[in-house]
Amino acid sequence: MRKSPPLPSVKVPRLSPRPENPPRAAAATWGTLADSPLPSTSLEKLPTPSLPSEPPMPSPPLARPGGVLAVSPAQGAAESGRPPGLPPPPARLRPRRSIPGRAGRADSRAERPPREHQPGSARRSCPRPPAAAAALGAGRRGRCRRRLRAVPPRPPSRMSPEYFLRSLLLIILATFSANASNWLYLAKLSSVGSISEEETCEKLKGLIQRQVQMCKRNLEVMDSVRRGAQLAIEECQYQFRNRRWNCSTLDTLPVFGKVVTQGTREAAFVYAISSAGVAFAVTRACSSGELDKCGCDRTVQGGSPQGFQWSGCSDNIAYGVAFSQSFVDIRERSKGASSNRALMNLHNNEAGRKAILNNMRVECKCHGVSGSCEFKTCWKAMPPFRKVGNILKEKFDGATEVEQSEIGSTKVLVPKNSQFKPHTDEDLVYLDSSPDFCDHDLKNGVLGTSGRQCNKTSKAIDGCELMCCGRGFHTDEVEVVERCSCKFHWCCSVKCKPCHRVVEIHTCR
């Protein structure tokens, strides 16, 4: 078998066939597959987990057929970094949910698109600027309608004028109160190809008006922005592969579901990693010659007109970070950085960039007479993005819960618990505690852990006990075709023998 794709194929028995897929796409089950060497093409073949029909959070610990004890919600809370014993987070969140027909408070509108219960949620899941909506045409609309169908209970009077008006209002509201991380939707636009024309900017979903203007002005950079968004999502999914919230993305806006529109710890991570991703990708594009404007044009030392020939250029990272600042932060800045959510986002965006800036490696080369260190030249190299992800994950684990406070006339974020030492520029901060992510809750964009693969022997969060929130798990014996005695090249070509192996796969109920 020559030049085979390096991923093996897996035969997985279909466990519980589902009539229809929910709007979550392939990526929704990403976490399930993170560890298994499955080809991406086999994603569709995977058992699509059925929604648990029983009450989502079983209060009495039940012994499951899998033989594993269920965990109490308190244990689930430990997952999101809080000490066990605290009340489970949903209690905090519930009152904030808006009632159908009410748009919520003025500032909460900015934080997340207004929510409605069943019918609206599906329609809201594909909000777009009116112009873009018109341009996108029927194909997109069709997708939306299909998604609408996917939501189980259908509104009884769907076409009523009152409902229509309300939906229209919601679409408009969703457009203007769009999530600040919506630009991450760029990562999903692999079909667009290269962003090389100004018209394309208009069509891009998830950008706010000022970002569209920036896109038009910096067309060449937009491919890197998209690459940065992809990097960020990939890294997020890698870092959270073993957790209940596995950074799975939806095909709709907001990309990560509602979790990110609230001021949670997860949102803090997503904002940080995405602004780091853009800075990283733009810097990288600079040094591969894809961009013209890097380095030299901005901050040349000495300021001589000869620029590059007189004194060389400044580091590309300066440009990458500056671009990330102006593109990613633009939404919070345009709001005037007054709301606590804007302050939190700005802080976390900056923390993400700091994760790169403060971890640049300084490398030096001696090149004097006979290789002596008479001449020594040093430069800064970016850390690998995996390392940036690791750093931010650590910051996620030690994130600080903050609240707004006014010092003089400026509003700042201070730790909620005054006994904690104040957070630094590099730390992540959050406002709201996270839900436990146990149950499928499409309204909040929580996919739930049902159907997720878990580790039977682990006692950590990837273990079946914690991962399945006490619902227990299935165990299936699956025959896996693996590659063995492989001969690799540095790229592309792998010569392997296929080996068949039977493995046990545990999936949460």
């Binding site: 591969s288 380095g295 590059f308 020939q309 007189w310 004194s311 001449f375 995996r386 540095w490």
Partner: protein
């Protein structure tokens, strides 16, 4: 019998000369610190993965990473897998410089190092002592629309020295190895505007080429070149210093030839030091702006080596000629023990430089450090040179110690002398010590500034002003040694005024008569300085 200017100058005049030199020294530092940019710049380049589509036709040999005729690019190697592209069809392309910039002859040299991003994979681990085979070629053009002209093509083998920080488990798959950077290329002139590097990593299972080198994710290059601004300041400095040293040299030699006696060894050595300084100063580098002379780098090394060897020899001879013992020196052969190590050390470094930069004239991708034998050979040369240097410094320190011991012995007998003589000798010893002190200060300054420039990050900021420490180090130290040589030639030139005075001095006249009587076998009676003469006399006694 001649005295040197240093002995006959009044303290006031000496102070004035010292003050002027100090001002010039400060100017030399400021020129580097304020006008010049940092000496070198490092530009990071990320190679672009091109697909070499030509299978049978050789029409487009060079693959451009960007620009109008850019190659078909791969975003990452997962794409290559899905498109069934083989490793042998992938070319890493780097265009120098980055878009909308041009290289310039003012950059003087370019050197490149290579960094490999190798991801860890459980089943595709990096082999122990893995070697990577690179098929590299370099081309140039001076116009964006010209064809590329090949400069060099070579197949190079580099050793991978990588470590992996995390445990080698499935968990850490995808993390990168921590690899030492590899020397990649060095060229001694930047005569063209655009350069293009194409790197291939050919795979051959049968011959075991490029097998077991892990999963390469990216190839990064870092290009280092001298800053054009620094080159200009440097050239300006050289152009200014050359005539100054040349004039003082001519003046010095005229003074010596005006005397009736033949010049002594110390005078010759000082003159030779002047010549080697001028040799370094002559700004032949101006030619590198117009001509593609890649040997300029090697030539610069040789010139620098000659000067260092000359300076070290001068110190030994200076000390030896002031040694107040019985030995008769005044011949270079008398110093073979001390000058020998200098010669051997310089020769070793010369051979090493020829092996490295000499071969690079032919193959810019060559590096002596890449092969086992080469590394050992290079290390051998450097160690021998190091031993020679240590040996030399031991001799030098011992000689300085001897001189000071003899001087202090002389000082104890000073009170017995007449007042005029005593004052005279005291002045001489003071001035001799003063010069020793200056030499030491210069050496210490060089060492201190060298350490400072190594430790600090290149530039200091004071408000709006940026001081380029590294540039200040280069211009300041260069200016300092020029001033040192200048002062040496000026102060040690024979004094005409003294000549007459000494003749009229009866006391000294008797002494010299004595001396003449006692030293009939000595060829050169006249030392260049009174101290020298004093030492000689002491030796006779």
């Amino acid at each position: 019998m001649a005295g040197a200017i240093i002995e006959n100058m009044s303290t006031r005049k000496l102070c004035i000369v010292g003050g002027i030199l100090l001002v010039l020294q400060v100017i030399a530092f400021l020129v580097g610190g304020l006008i010049a940019p940092s000496p070198t710049t490092a530009v990071p380049y990320m190679s672009v993965k091109c697909i070499d589509v030509r299978k049978n036709h050789h029409k487009t040999k060079w693959l451009m990473p960007w620009g109008p005729n850019h190659c078909k690019k791969l975003k990452d190697f997962d794409e290559a897998v899905s498109r069934q592209i083989e490793a042998n069809d992938i070319v890493f392309a780097v265009h120098i410089p980055l878009p909308s910039k041009e290289m310039s002859p003012w950059f003087q040299f370019m050197l490149f190092i290579m960094q490999l991003d190798i991801a860890f994979k459980m089943d595709n681990d990096l082999k122990e002592n893995a070697e990577i085979t690179l098929d590299v070629s370099l081309a140039y053009r001076d116009d964006m629309f010209d064809d590329w002209e090949e400069i060099a093509h070579a197949i190079e083998i580099r050793k991978l020295k990588c470590t992996f920080g995390s445990p080698k488990t499935v968990e850490s798959e995808g993390r990168h190895y921590d690899c030492d950077f590899l020397p990649f290329m060095e060229i001694g002139s930047v005569a063209h505007k655009y350069y293009l590097i194409n790197i291939r990593l050919p795979v051959n299972d049968r011959k075991g080429i490029n097998v077991g080198i892990g999963e390469i994710k990216d190839i990064r290059l870092v290009g280092i070149h001298q800053n054009g601004g620094f080159t200009k300041v440097w050239f300006a400095m050289k152009t200014f210093l050359t005539p100054s040293i040349l004039i003082i040299m001519v003046w010095y030699w005229r003074r010596i030839t005006l005397m009736t006696r033949a010049p002594v060894l110390l005078e010759k050595v000082i003159f030779a030091l002047g010549i080697s300084m001028t040799f370094i100063n002559i700004p032949v580098e101006w030619f590198s702006i117009g001509f593609d002379w890649t040997w300029m780098l090697l030539f610069g090394d040789i010139r620098q080596g000659i000067f260092y060897a000359m300076l070290l020899s001068f110190w030994i001879i200076f000390c030896g000629e002031h040694m107040m013992d019985q030995n008769e020196r005044n011949r270079l052969s008398g110093y073979w023990k001390q000058v020998g190590p200098i010669a051997v050390g310089s020769f070793c470094l010369f051979v090493f430089d020829m092996c490295e930069r000499g071969v690079q004239l032919k193959n810019p991708f060559y590096s002596i450090w890449t092969t086992e034998v080469g590394t050992e050979l290079a290390m051998a040369f450097i160690i021998v040179a190091g031993i020679c240097l240590c040996l030399y410094f031991l001799f030098l320190c011992f000689m300085v110690f001897q001189v000071f011991r003899n001087i202090s012995g002389k000082q104890s007998s000073l009170p017995a002398m007449s007042k005029a003589r005593r004052l005279h000798y005291e002045g001489l010893i003071f001035r001799f010590k003063f010069l020793m002190l200056i030499t030491l200060a210069c050496a210490a300054m060089t060492v201190i500034f060298f350490i400072v420039s190594q430790v600090t990050e290149g530039h200091w900021k004071w408000g709006d002003m940026t001081i380029q420490v590294n540039s200040a180090f280069f211009t300041g130290i260069y200016g300092m040694w020029n001033l040192y040589v200048f002062a040496l030639m000026f102060l040690y030139a024979p004094s005409h005024k003294n000549y007459g005075e000494d003749q009229s001095n009866g006391d000294l006249g008797v002494n010299s008569g004595e001396e003449l009587q006692l030293t009939t076998t000595i060829t050169h009676v006249d030392g260049p300085t009174e101290v020298y003469k004093l030492a000689r006399k002491e030796a006779q006694e």
